[in-house]
């Protein structure tokens, strides 16, 4: 599949999609959706560039065929590092979330976990999963990985909720398959996907076993309803001219997907009421996805740093020591994130199925830094940009007969740079720090792949605190810790 075929294919899907209160027959033509599909399409376009061949392609461990890396099961630490590098590259190219990692991360987590379930329980979860995977690889398909349930009252577990559907669950089963009901929130790129892969959102206990369910369905399965979320400044994308849009080509997208009694045939059920395995599936998916942020957000960070540096230049302050210092700080923070993405990959190990899993501790450290540093990078970018970032008139004013010339006169920066450069760059940076891309670069950095507290819990669990206490006791000359 190439980029054109990809987009064409999406147009054919018949789905129930609501955008700002209206059922939308052709969502892929909607200006709020198009830029996000364009970002996914970039993952196909890269296939054309020989210089990116090593990153965008991998060899299938199932078929031995050359496949798009976004459908690949990692078989080495090198694979894990290449994933991160590919993500950084695409973040640089699109300046937004290109959405395809979530399905990739879901597939890798399922590959490992279905292997263990089949090994331990005999149910052919792994065989089913591998057949699905083979199809995805053959089709070069895009999968949405759907994990986050609405959760209702967060102080209660699934079966304690007033409404049992606040976590997605199996409501019935028969010989052909299961029927599920519930919803999944924050589905990045949902409308750009061919398949939806559902996973439970937390480690389930016995009482919640109906919620321990994982499966794949076609994006147009009956009973699925998509409701598009709003983003900051989303209306900018709907304006006739693109002048104030910032990022001219790419954008993000998040849907709430409602599963209104959706039927799933057994062939596509990868976990059914196996609550004992739900925790590790969640932990692995989250781990892979926390690694991902050490690549994609770094790529977007590169663009923001570049935008700030360009603005400094256009405004005549590129030589000021405090500006240079702020750029160094932005780079430093951004590369620290990259270090975390690389390190959890380089220390990846083979799971029982032979698939490489990232170092869980370091992947969580990676994501926890991602909940902090992008905010500081954005703050520094605003510092460098100056107040015009939020007081710039519409670029439409520039074309106005009377005030256009005045604006050009008064908003001119250094000589030799056309004023449009400065203004477009300000719009781009506005987009990243306070516009729709901020939803991806900031808030998603906070909550995507789990909120910071989720990372802290894993870090605490993975930290081997007793080993550290023993190290200290040895140097302090404490034998048992209870001497005397």
């Amino acid at each position: 599949m190439n980029a054109a075929e990809y987009v064409a294919g999406l147009h054919k899907l018949r789905r129930k999609v609501y955008i700002q209160g209206e059922l939308t027959a052709s969502p892929m033509e909607h200006p709020l959706v198009r830029p996000s599909a364009a970002a996914v399409a970039r993952t196909y376009e890269l296939q054309q560039y020989p210089e990116h061949e090593e990153l965008i392609y991998a060899q299938s461990h199932l078929s031995g065929e050359r496949i798009n890396r976004f459908t690949h099961i990692h078989r080495s630490a090198d694979d894990l590092m290449k994933k991160v590098k590919l993500q950084r590259l695409l973040g640089q190219e699109t300046g937004t979330c290109f959405q395809r990692c979530v399905g990739l991360d879901a597939m890798n987590a399922l590959e490992i976990t279905t292997f263990e379930m089949e090994r331990d329980l005999g149910t052919p979860y792994h065989q089913r999963f591998n057949r699905f995977l083979q199809q995805v690889q053959n089709e070069n398909a895009v999968c949405d990985g759907a994990m986050t349930d609405p959760k209702g009252d967060r102080a209660r577990r699934p079966h304690e909720q007033a409404d049992p559907d606040l976590y997605l669950r199996v409501v019935s089963e028969n010989r052909e398959g299961i029927t599920v009901r519930g919803a999944k929130c924050h589905q990045t790129g949902a409308l750009n996907s061919h398949y939806i892969i559902v996973m439970p959102t937390l480690a389930m206990k016995e009482e919640d076993r109906d919620y321990a369910v994982s499966f794949a369905i076609g994006a147009d399965a009956p009973g699925l309803i998509y409701i598009l979320g709003r983003q900051p400044s989303d209306r900018r994308k709907m304006e006739d001219d693109p002048l104030d849009r910032g990022n001219l080509y790419f954008g993000g997208q998040e849907c709430l997907i409602i599963f209104d009694n959706v039927f799933v045939p057994w062939e596509r059920v990868f976990m059914c009421r196996e609550h004992r395995y739900s925790g590790r599936l969640v932990e692995r998916f989250a781990g892979y996805h926390r690694q991902s942020y050490g690549g994609c957000k770094v790529g977007v960070g590169d663009v923001i740093i570049g935008a700030a540096a360009a603005l400094a230049e256009y405004q005549g302050v590129a030589g000021a020591s405090h500006i240079k210092d702020k750029l160094v700080e932005m780079i430093h923070l951004n590369e620290t994130l990259f270090c975390c993405g690389i390190a959890c990959s380089a220390r990846g190990c083979a799971a029982a199925s032979g698939t490489y899993l990232i170092d869980l501790l370091l992947a969580n450290v990676c994501k926890l830094n991602v909940t902090r540093f992008p905010y500081e990078i954005a703050r520094l970018a605003e510092d460098i940009a100056g107040g015009l970032l939020v007081t710039l008139p519409s670029l439409r004013d520039l074309e106005h007969e009377e005030i256009g010339p005045l604006l050009k006169k008064y908003l001119q920066g250094i000589a030799g740079i056309d004023i449009s450069c400065r203004l477009k760059m300000l719009r781009l940076l506005e987009n990243f720090t306070l516009g729709p891309a901020a939803a991806a670069y900031l808030t998603e950095s906070m909550h995507g792949a789990g909120s910071p507290q989720a990372q802290r819990v894993v870090i605490a669990r993975q930290a081997h605190l007793d080993h550290k206490k023993n190290l200290a006791m040895k140097l302090a000359g404490i034998e048992t810790g209870k001497e005397g």
Copy 2:
């Protein structure tokens, strides 16, 4: 003047106003302008509340009359502290910039500086200013304080710019007055003001004396052109229903004002080519305005903290220790800003005219913290709010026949709280952190009253480093610093 009279009065002004490429006959009715005028109107409404009497009213040092504090010249440290408390109160009430401080700060800075000029030079700058001030107090008028020039190439001084108008300047004078040309950027609340008070943007040298000019003019003076700036998510305010607006009542506004050969009669000229006094006027205005942020932004911070706390409650996590801890951190940072606002006021001293000036060092420390802590407060608010902050469907969807009930089912938080509470609160917080109010709470916190580097320069100058070195030398037993 009361609030209704205030708004009515603005409608009568005949001004040249451009909004997104169009000349707008009735700007005060424009949905992008109305909420910002409502915020200013609040400074009149407060006059009705006996419980706020001590803050909103002051006694004029000119007439002895009771006046609105926003037209008052500070005559004690207590006045300075009351200003900060009033600002916090209005920040709490409006959740945005209520715009009236900039004129207040300009008048106080001019009062001190025109006194010195008249004393030293004999020109009746102070008499003129006092007559203008008396009129403002009588009318309870709103003044815009206009300082920031476009600056062009920032590495060059005014007279070195390719276009001499990139800083506002005197282009000619005659017996009646002066004619000026140039522009002022980032004019918060420009359209809501009766008068524009212009000041130079930096300390001028001899070669730049034409730029050392300060004056007041009516907001509808011939030659003035207003171009409204765009804000993040500004189109939300233009939607038919207010559902996704966040802050239902109030908003901000910034204009670029162009002075296209504007004539100013001598009676309203408060500084003309007195470059030696331009620096101290700038420093004082900036000082007062940096103090202001220790009040108004703290008030907005209170609302954001409240919004985050309410959301935590609605979502069932108010009891989680990490949530409580984040709220404490937000409060701590916010109150630290308040401490700075109060401290620079409490340590204020009388200038030669008897007017109280804030402690310049501490006012700059105040503002430098304001360039940091609101960003962290906003980040923590996003942490508490959850990802729905940027993926929430339009509230229009809630009213849709088919999906409205589904949304209500799946977005329900804890029992007993109507879902609309949660959703409205999310929209409010989106407004503050990524929407139009973020322009005021974040970017304006960074650049308003001068960018952080400007504060650092003043801090360095005010820090008495030699005294500190001597303290260290004494304790180290160093006599001269060059002994031996």
Copy 3:
């Protein structure tokens, strides 16, 4: 009393003092004690300086006499601010803790609380306290304020401890007075005090009423045992020559005081088993003491900034932009602390007794910042100082026949500055960041007047979160918070 009389008086006290395993007959002559008494003596010496008269003297509200401010009960917000300024001055003068605030803070907290107890209960606690206070003012005496109990297992309340003495308590009483047993930790300046004022360490409940006890005793009361704590690099003070000492004149001191069945006559008992009043006594003392840190630590910060600036100069880097920037940051952080000290004072209010209490919320905010910024100031000072801070040979080596000249050759900084300046300044900064003064500037900043978590608890309690929620609800258009 002047400084000489003060020191002479201490020599006469007959106390049981242990220093590093030995009973010490003349503790005031011990090199570990002398520098700390010198710091207290400075509070007497200041009385000689007319330029500090307004700070060091106050007018007694009891007698109307001029008294040393360290024995004064605050009767206005101005008094509170002068206290902070005096503390900053003394921090600058001594570069360490001058120890006298703790007694001052204890007396002010007791004045307010004994007033309330006598008013409510009729017991003459306030009369007794005022007689004691009068004596302290007459004598210009130094009081140690003793609050922190050893606490044993911190997860248990006093009466739940395995050993009931782990919190100081009343073990018996008779017509003459009470007998107490227990210990108080971290007693800064204990050996330099004439009186010990004991207070409970937390809000007691009914079951713990024996622990709700407050009283004053003479520093040489029978049953008192002092054990001197060790400090980092304490042995430097015991070396024959003072070369490597850093701060040549002043230092700190902390003791563990054991109360081995100490008798207290009723006349000096200010609270006995009044558990309902213990919490507010603790909160007020802690509040005053948290204010104090916004003065004294700022003064020490001034010295550290001065030392770093001097070193930058001696080493030829004073002009480097990154060095200037770090100095500005240090000043900024230090002045932010000062703002907090001033603000909680300026917003002080009269308690029922007419005594001024600081704003509790802001005083806790002050202290919480003190647990952070001094560490960053010290870190930046180390950055500027360079590695020689921890690799500098003994200054004794400088006097050695063979290597002295070589050291002078190789450790020379810029021309015109004798090498001794650089080396002494390095030793001073070492003292502050890693030596004995670091105990006061860093660890005491963390834990003195309560550890950071204690401040967070008060901030949470004082923050009026419901008011903030209401502000947000109003702007979001939420009526009841439960609508619908």
Copy 4:
């Protein structure tokens, strides 16, 4: 060579060593030196442990023999990662600097740079270096890598200094070799080394070519003078009993080494007046050494985290949520450093000689984080430890007949843990945060391998800012950056 042979060998060296003003005949028996040699000895002892075999041993690329990794030239990214893991292990084992990395890093930097010089210039620098390396590998010798010159006035370059010896330089040469004069500061582990490897301290220009010199000499070469630096609390190591020492076994050591006309035979000269190659030698050595800190300091961090966790337990607060949260934060910061160490290794590439060089950008990012996070980890450890950290009496007091029992009574923590555990752990943490180990964990983290500004300069140079600008321009729709 095993550990015993190593220590025995050092005793035999005849060197001129001054310690605190005295020429010391047997420095290896000095209590200030012994613990640091013990830390190096640990790099030999590890050879005995089969579980560490993969880390401590490597295969020589010269001889194919199994050698101690501290003498190994890295031939793969895996080698680079193993170095970091070995360093973390030794940091955990010793809780201090084990000193052997500096020589390792010097050798790897020289291997690459001598290869290039010999290739380009024909001088047999590489052959000489390889013969020296072979000897070091055969002997399993310890090398000191000596780079930092005294620098005098830092605003001047070497030849501009008042005294030309303030940077080490070639003063003469003849057929046998060269004679050098100067000094090297901050020589960690100098007295524990068999060889001293000298390198220039910065990129030299033509005028400074005499300073572009690199060579190796025996640690007892004539003309070498060692002067031991002081450390915080160094006297603790000289006390008769080890009770208050903290780390009972290991410590650090820094010397100033003076080269008083030292002769170096040509066979050991690896660079002589090749100023064009001096910059890259410095950059590579610094790069390797900045990588090192991502291992060793992380290991020490592990011990500090363990000490804080143990103290929390002993004091009954291990279950408090704020304590757990602080431990998570410490772990998070520590593992972030590890990520940086691993990432710059995993992205290492082969230089022309086939030797693997770390990723320079990421290695500098690593070190810049090391100048920050250990300070925060130490601060949090002090928070958890409580004030007793700096007020604890001497442990000698515990053994005193009268007060020993009282101390044991009052300093008891939770039941079941002997009091000695608590007290020893407090001493260990004091050692790390304010004692001699703080010199290594904090100040050395700041300045070792170059001060933070040095890292910022490299980061700026390596950041490819133009590429980032182009990325932003593409998305903003800017063609040339100068359009129009």
